[in-house]
Amino acid sequence: MKFNDVVSGGVLLALSLLILLTVKDYPDIPGQNIGPGAFPGLLAALLAVCAVLLMVKGLRTQRHMPWLVWGEWMKSRFHLRNFCITVGCLVFYITASDFLGFLISSTVVLSTMFIALRVRLSWVLPMSLIVTLVVHTIFYKALRVPLPWGVLMPFQW
């Protein structure tokens, strides 16, 4: 997913202006003439300069390049699907792990990824369960990380 440098520069310029707008209202440290807005303000100003330089460079060297070039992999349904599944698995874990618990969420994530990456079907469920249980033992039992039980709370061990 390649953006033309002019586009990247534009986004960064907008970001730096947003930061400058946010910090201009920060109060100074009492008794001093410098405050918490000084450092981010300086950084945002430098970022704005770099962003403009990037846009100028983009206009000079990438004039004939479209604003966005989709990666080769995005034209392959297999790769695009797997990318979306990977991101989807993370979003699924973030939203559902508290309710479903680690054991179920992890098994679902692993199984989905294994199937998407064309692991032999007969291996998918056993491997997902074994890996989930190993990870659970290492982190929950050995390292005492409070992984959520979710709906399996009545059966916790």
Binding site: Y26, L47, N82, V87, R144
Partner: protein, 500 residues
């Protein structure tokens, strides 16, 4: 350094638990380095959530050992598959592969192993001798000097070894801005938190690292369209035969590579990958047989193999003495040191000397055990390389998820790894290097604190930054690096005009 402290350090390291941790992290590092697509930095990022629960010495020992092993074992797929296991091996991958095609895989791998260990020991020796001496000087540093040191380090990271200096500068500034998020600033004011309580203490370093180095690599694997790799040879002979001969034939390349690697390691932002590229180039330049480079010639491997391992130790010198990371791995390790209350800086030699000498001993131990364990890894290399990555990568994803959850026992860590994983993936697709961002995040708070403290101490007078002697020299060094591209451009224009 008293005998009592050294003895204490010895007992800290030669404890059964610590030795077990070293052995396990060595095997972990060798495994991760050997698989293309998994780097030493990723190994460290994955290891940190586990070391979170360990006392300081085994935690740092785990990181030091795993990375030393991973940097060597990255040579193995380079020689057998023509794909470097870690970026640090990329400089001589072609050379090693050509040697394998000529039936000399064992020489390529043996040279990589033996000279990596020697380079690593050289770097460790420099670290042991120089760190205490540097710490004495560092005791004279005040906020003005620290400010310039950070700026010097960051300038070097941006201007040295990046394809696009402008894009490296941009990612550095983004990293510094991320460090501004939260309450932890001299004014104690919540900045850029938008009322989110998770952002009050800033963006956590470890989930950010895991996202940027592990999750983005995973996404790169998922979107990789290259055909599956083929192993060039199944047969690897005795990797130690001929090594003594190579040592007698190429003593100067070995010393040069080790020295250059250590110096590059010391420079913040440049680590094992740059050390190996620069020393490979230097090896070719000073070689008596430069025409043989690229056809399967071992001299480059001797020099770069030593350089990339010695840079690992070099990177710890500024990290321990000043708290300024020499490379991405030490950036992560500094985060771990802070978590363990072993705040890096010259006082660490006074407050926790036994822990620091324990780390020195771990470096020596790691480089020594690299030889037998590396030999074992080469023996089973063809089996390791057959491990299916479509099984490995989802397992790594789960480790990333659980690891980042465990930092604060909150699913916010997982949100961070998703955000930074996607951000790093898109940035790198567009030619923005990610390493300066890490440096920016790690050093941003230090830079701001020293800047504000200095301004308050001097009552708003900026000239104090230039009038103290050490500060003045650091400032000159910084401006030389910042203005170097301008000097070279001006020089080229002048010489071109004269030629016309």
């Amino acid at each position: 350094m008293t005998t009592a402290v050294l003895l204490q350090a010895f007992w800290l390291v030669f404890d059964p638990y610590v030795l077990l941790v070293i052995l396990c992290s060595a095997m972990f590092g060798l495994f991760v380095g050997c698989i293309p697509g998994l780097s030493a930095t990723m190994a460290t990022a994955l290891l940190v959530p586990i070391t979170f629960f360990m006392p300081p010495v085994p935690a740092i020992a785990a990181i030091v050992t795993a990375t030393a092993m991973a940097i060597f074992s990255g040579d193995i797929p380079g020689a057998l598959l023509r794909i470097p296991g870690t970026p640090a091996s990329a400089a001589y991958t072609d050379e090693a592969y050509q040697m394998t095609l000529k039936g000399q895989a064992e020489i390529a791998l043996g040279a990589g192993l033996v000279f990596s260990a020697i380079g690593g020991l050289f770097g460790t020796l420099v670290m042991i001798l120089f760190s205490p001496a540097l710490a004495e000087i560092a005791l004279k540093f005040s906020s003005f000097e620290y400010f310039w040191l950070v700026v010097l380090g960051l300038a070097g990271a941006v201007f040295i070894g990046n394809a696009s200096v402008l894009k490296a500068c941009i990612t550095l500034l983004l990293g510094l801005l991320i460090a501004c998020i939260g309450l932890e600033n001299p004014a104690g004011m919540p900045r850029f938190t938008w009322g989110m309580k998770e952002l009050m203490s800033g963006v956590e370093l470890i989930p950010m690292m895991v996202g940027m180095f592990a999750v983005s690599e995973l996404l790169r694997y998922i979107t990789n369209m290259d055909p599956p790799h083929i192993i060039a040879t199944e047969k690897i002979g005795n990797i130690f035969s001929g090594m003594w001969g190579l040592l007698k034939k190429y003593p100067w390349p070995l010393v040069r590579g080790s020295a250059l690697g250590t110096v590059i390691g010391i420079q913040p932002g440049s680590g094992a990958d740059m050390a190996s590229w620069l020393s490979y180039a230097m090896s070719k330049k000073f070689s008596k047989e430069p025409e043989k480079f690229g056809t399967g010639h071992v001299e480059g491997i001797v020099e770069s193999g030593a350089a990339n391992n010695s840079s690992l130790a070099g990177a710890w010198i500024p990290a321990i003495v000043f708290g300024i990371p020499g490379d991405s791995i030490t950036a992560i390790a500094i985060g771990v040191l802070y978590l363990k209350n072993m705040n890096p800086g010259p006082m660490i030699f006074i407050n926790n000397p036994e822990n620091i000498y324990a780390i020195f001993l771990v470096f020596i131990l790691a480089n020594i055990i690299m030889v037998p364990l590396g030999w074992l890894t080469v023996k089973v290399a063809t089996k390791i390389l057959r491990v299916k990555r479509n099984i490995l990568m989802p397992i790594i994803l789960i480790f990333c998820i659980v690891g980042s959850f465990s930092i604060n026992n909150s699913v916010w860590g997982v949100t961070l790894i998703l955000f930074f994983g996607l951000a790093a993936f898109i940035l790198e697709e567009n030619g923005f290097p990610v390493a300066p961002a890490i440096l920016g995040v790690v050093l941003g708070t230090m830079m701001e604190e020293n800047f504000i403290t200095s301004m308050i101490k001097s009552d708003g007078d900026p000239w104090v930054f230039f009038t103290r002697p050490i500060a003045m020299w650091l400032a000159i060094g910084t401006f030389v690096i910042l203005l170097w591209p301008v000097f070279t451009w001006a020089y080229q224009r002048i010489t071109q005009t004269r030629a016309v």
